[in-house]
């Protein structure tokens, strides 16, 4: 499904030249649950962002079902993300001025779907996450675990084929962390999602079918 070939990413900050990815090759099959492990600064988040088309590589290619993603322009990539990918971040990144329901509805509304249809789907997802009664609450009225579940509902409302998560449990206590971890695998099985998760939590990583370790910009299979 996703083929990564010779991926490199360099940043130039002032006079220094930083290589974050130094030639990454990777194959991810449809429906796989892939974990990217590594210490802070190893380049795992940068790799995830490039896989998620949030950033462009300096060199190399990312093929999605055989076609090169970065031949698309920014608007085409935005549409691709909306239709194909869901994102979950460490710090939920919900919009504070919108209720949980409105936050979940955003990807559908951005896709110009009808408000009624999107609302119905958003309510279903919030119900699935056990947050039906919190639908009209605002982010500052929700707990950390609830916020992350709202973020997951938002990532799933467009029925994506790939779910990308960057340290999704990094900001949660152990109880909520375990719940979210369980939820990811439940969703992967239920929806046949391709799951790509960045984490430094070894216990969480062990549950994945494929684990890759990032170190100094290189990727090794574990």
């Amino acid at each position: 499904m996703i083929q990564v070939q010779g991926l490199r990413k360099h940043y130039i900050t002032g006079s220094s030249h930083v290589s974050v990815l130094r030639g990454v090759d990777l194959n991810i099959q449809a429906g796989e649950a892939v974990c990217l492990l590594g210490s802070s600064g190893a380049g795992k988040s940068t790799l995830l962002q490039i896989l998620g088309t949030l950033d462009r590589p300096t060199e190399g290619e990312v093929l999605f079902e055989g076609s090169s993603l970065f031949e698309k322009n920014d608007d085409q990539l935005a549409l691709f993300r909306n239709e194909t990918m869901g994102f979950v971040f460490q710090f939920h990144h919900l919009i504070h001025e919108l209720s949980a329901l409105e936050n979940v509805m955003l990807p559908g509304l951005l896709a110009k779907l009808s408000k009624e249809e999107t609302k119905q789907k958003a309510l279903e997802w919030l119900d699935f996450m056990g947050l039906a009664e919190r639908a009209h609450h605002y982010p500052n009225q929700l707990s950390g675990g609830e916020l992350q579940r709202v973020a997951i509902a938002r990532a799933l409302i467009r029925n994506p084929r790939i779910l990308l998560a960057d340290e999704p449990t990094g900001n949660l206590d152990s109880e909520n962390s375990a719940k979210i971890q369980g939820l990811f695998f439940e969703l992967q099985k239920k929806l046949g999602l391709t799951l790509i998760v960045v984490t430094h939590d070894l216990q969480f990583a062990q549950a994945f079918s494929k684990i890759y370790r990032m170190k100094d910009g290189y990727l090794t299979s574990n």
């Binding site: 949030l54 920014d74 990144h93 001025e97 919108l98 951005l110 408000k115």
Partner: protein, 408 residues
Amino acid sequence: MFRDIKFKLWLSGRLLFNKQILFGGSAPLSFLGLVLGVAALVASMSVMRGFEHSLKQAMIDVTSDIQIIKKGKLIESWDEFAADIRKIDPSIQKIARFAYTEAVVASKGKVSGVLIQGFDFAQVGEILNLNSRVREGSLNSPAGTIAIGQGLAKRYGLKINDEVYLAVSLATPFEEDNFKRKANAFKVSAILDFGKNDWNERLILSHLPDFQELTQIGDRYTGAFVKIQDSDKAPELSHIIENQLGPRYAVLNWYEVNKNLFKAVKYESVVIFFVVFLIVIVAAFNISSTLYVLIRQRYQDIAILKALGSTQANIQIIFVMQGLLVALLGCLCGFFTGYMLSQGFMFLQTQYPLISGSVYKIDRIDIQLSWVDFFLIFIATTFACLLATYPPARKGSRLTVVEGLRED
């Protein structure tokens, strides 16, 4: 399409109207600047338009749309003259005869020059709008009474039923350089606000028979008041009448009598609009800088919207719509504040002499709020706000997702 616009408007509104923005930072002050700018525009435009309207209305109320005055000799056969006038154009609705002369008014030991106008009050009532200008007394009065302006009444301390003497000089039939004096006593039956300062000070209205008796002109007249269908066509029609009647008649209309003043008001309105609009432009700059700050605070939200599939153009539109919403609200609040300022000005005019009649011809302005002015102010303000919000919106939309997410 409509659904998409509705969504963007909704989102830009939700991102704009929150406690942090409404009650903190420079946003409320920037908005206040815009409101004051719009209010100043509304107030100044309504004063200028009111000035023009008050002057025009005074002219039409007191001197009719068109006045025809015979030069030299007086008009002798009214019916024939009136029939000739009516034939000129079908838009002529009504005509009424009048006569006038310079005179001297004497009362309570004071003497000054005045202009007496004599006409049939009932007939002229269909052409002039004098009844609306009566401040005391009534125009429905018997022979031997006169109506005076409020300026003259104040200067002489005259009240209803007070007696005044009107004196005219009459040329003797045998020696043209010799004059004899004729004076009659009249009672004041009405005090009017003629709308123009010099009329309030100098104009006296009398019944036509009284006037003819005082000036001894017999059944003759100076000219005619003419009422036409559309007052704004008076300049055009007066030229037609002038051409038809020839050089023995002077044809005046409400516009040409004060042409320079009306032109000056028009030009001044344009100049004032642009000068006061500078306040709106400064306010728009403030809004622009505020929006830069607000967009800087929204980097994470922009990044998330982009990650969820929003294009650069969508982000730009959402923030430009914020400028549009600010302009709309600023206009609404500004229109209301401007209206209140205008009302305040109207009230203050009744309490204090704000306008010098000797300088501006009128000593009171009826504020005129015009939809055309509202529309122009709205368009200009919206355009200024959209221009001002475009640069920050463009900057925000160009932010990359990775840059935005780094703002943790």
